[in-house]
């Protein structure tokens, strides 16, 4: 079996070309844990470097470790040194192969791997194996979403790496052609809300829908009075803020449905069902299956409540409550709109 042709030897940190970052895969993770490990135990796994024509070396794997050693004033470190004739393509293949058996890659790392594998330098069977190993899609369209994330702004990659923006949401945001500032504001919003992956997706889709419906740039929405007001609420938890943002988006996306819901609630307040009974329309008023729920503790109470319910059903106003009627026709608008 052919092992990678590396020599393990001491490398002077002064010979490192610190500007050569062609092999960098940013994890966007805090550096403190690895620094602490090095301080305690030293370098346990030698970094990889490639000799370059100018007598220098380029870091292949171990950017954080090497940088920390330099900051500590170390002069040299034992590395796996690859001769200059080794092809970068082979180095990448070995490096990615080794990475397969490490901790699960975060979305920023996966995006970088996708970009490396998508550039056409590798044999198809190797690409296929590595894509599968890294949990990346093989379909060109799916892979393009990941390479799009790799090209995205550091603020999004960092948020994705740290789990602030979940993987699907990060891909969605990366694929949405936005001015960089707007994407950063979106990340900031999601950082505030700290919601689940599915709710992040719902919020992104909501903003996108509203932008298209109101024909407004997303920046206007992200920085509007309503959103600022929600995020600035000093006493609200992130869950309350998330709920408020979702409700605000729904009001803009579904103004007529929301108007009907308000109408229904107002009528229900004017004509409440008997105590212990609740009435609910079909979800989104779609279809004709209404729900009625009654709470009771004994047969006497059940009998009494059924009697009260019958009186209620026969009274004025119940038909109007249940029968559909065109709601007023509100249109979604922002408070800042003239």
């Amino acid at each position: 079996m052919n092992a990678p042709p590396a020599d393990f030897r001491r490398v002077a940190l002064a010979s490192v070309d610190w500007d050569d970052r062609r092999f960098a895969v940013e994890s966007h993770q805090p550096e403190e844990p690895i620094q602490s490990s090095i301080s305690r135990h030293g370098i346990l796994a030698p970094p990889w470097v490639l000799q370059t024509a100018a007598g220098k070396v380029a870091i292949v794997d171990g950017f954080k470790r090497m940088r920390f050693l330099r900051e500590r004033g170390e002069r040299e470190v034992v590395c796996a040194v690859f001769p200059s004739h080794v092809k970068p393509r082979d180095l990448w293949a070995w490096r990615l192969e080794a990475r397969l058996f490490g901790p699960p890659p975060n979305p920023a790392e996966k995006a970088r791997v996708a970009a490396i594998l998508a550039d056409g330098a590798f044999e198809a069977h190797l690409v296929s194996r590595l894509l599968e190993g890294f949990g990346l899609p093989r379909h060109p369209q799916g892979l393009a979403r990941w390479t799009g994330l790799a090209r995205s702004e550091p603020v999004l990659l960092e948020a994705a790496a740290r789990g602030i923006v979940h993987e699907r949401a990060a891909l969605e945001l990366a694929g949405w052609p936005l001015p960089p500032g707007d994407r950063a504001d979106f990340v900031s919003l999601l950082r505030h809300l700290r919601c689940s992956a599915s709710i992040q997706m719902e919020i992104i889709e909501g903003f996108r829908d509203v932008c298209m419906m109101l024909k407004r740039p997303v920046g206007d929405l992200l920085r509007c009075t309503e959103v600022r007001g929600i995020l600035d609420q000093p006493d609200w938890s992130h869950r309350e803020k998330t709920r408020a943002v979702r409700e605000w988006l729904d009001e803009l996306r579904l103004p007529r449905l929301k108007a009907r819901e308000r109408l229904f609630r107002a009528r229900l307040r004017r004509k409440p069902p008997p105590a212990g009974t609740t009435v609910a329309p079909p979800p989104s008023f779609e279809g004709s299956q209404w729900r009625l729920e009654m709470v009771f503790s004994c047969d006497d109470e059940l009998r009494r409540r059924l009697g009260e319910l019958e009186v209620w059903v026969e009274s004025d106003g119940v038909k109007a409550l249940l029968m559909p009627e065109q709601a007023v026709e509100p249109r979604g608008r922002l408070r800042d709109d003239p």
């Binding site: 419906m213 009907r260 008023f285």
Partner: protein, 364 residues
Amino acid sequence: MKTPRINVVRMEAAVAEGFVASQLRKNLPGASFEVVDRIADGSPFDPHLLEVTAYRGRFLRQCPGTRHYLCCGYRILHIGVQCTLQCRYCILQAYFNQPNLRVFGNTGEMLQLLEAELASHPHDLHRFGTGEFTDSLLLDPLTRLSSRLVPLFAGRANAVLELKTKTDFVEPLLDLPHGGSTIVAWSLNAPTIRRSEESRAASIAERLQAARRCAEAGYRLAFHFDPLIEHPDWKRGYGEVLDRLFNAVDPADIVWISLGAFRFMPELKSIIQDRHPGTGIVYGEFIRGLDGKMRYFRDIRVELFRFMNERIRAVDPGLCVYLCMEGEDIWRDVFGFSPEERGGLPAMLDDAVRERMGIVAGKP
């Protein structure tokens, strides 16, 4: 409107000598023809490729309605898959495993099955259509399939054929012996939607001109306003098309008009966003319907349908207008009755066939 530009016809050997294959050879003299044992699904998309396969599935199918909404009960005669009109709202965009234009070449087998089906239930009224998975007439100038289908239905006492299209490719139909048993139907939309969302289809004027020619040749007509799309000034747009429709053809020649509001599988939204970033059709007040599809909030649908129905009724109060895939509550809001009160939606359409086409089979 021009027929699709086909550079390559790839045929399975089993159908390479069949009717469709011979018509294609005659009508596509500039194309190259390849014969292969089998055409697998999932071949890369090529807009100028036509696949001719020996279909091994069900040629005759029920309309894929769901139990949550009322279905017209029409039956599908499955003649092929895909369409080059590429309307932006079309579900065929989601057929990733069969992206290419495909027609089934084992026509004899299909017609045999069809005849056996009609013969086995002679007292039922059969409504068949070919426009579910492709446009009924898009390839007809090349395949001349209509010359086999239309005469088969001609004069039958128990069956009608509906050919649904957005083209004006009616020339092959005009001299066929149709016997009054074929309905030629057009999907129509508001002019702005036609221009932006179905720009490769025939213009409204071309479709109406084609309808007029079919009516002059004795065909009965139908129109489908589906998908109705809520857009700025939609009342003016749809009203204008209705005016043009009733100016172009005699309402008495129309068997039915269907109305359907835009609805889509949730997965189609991202496909449309990716392929047509400029379109606004997927951004509206959509809720998840009982069948899992996204549809306009009910009040919007009711408003669209009421407007259309009132405008149609003002011209021809007796014309059969029906809703495609809607619930009884919507029917009541729009028409003031539910199809169940009239024997069900399929029975209503059967009645329209009897009244406007003089076909009497299945009458109780």
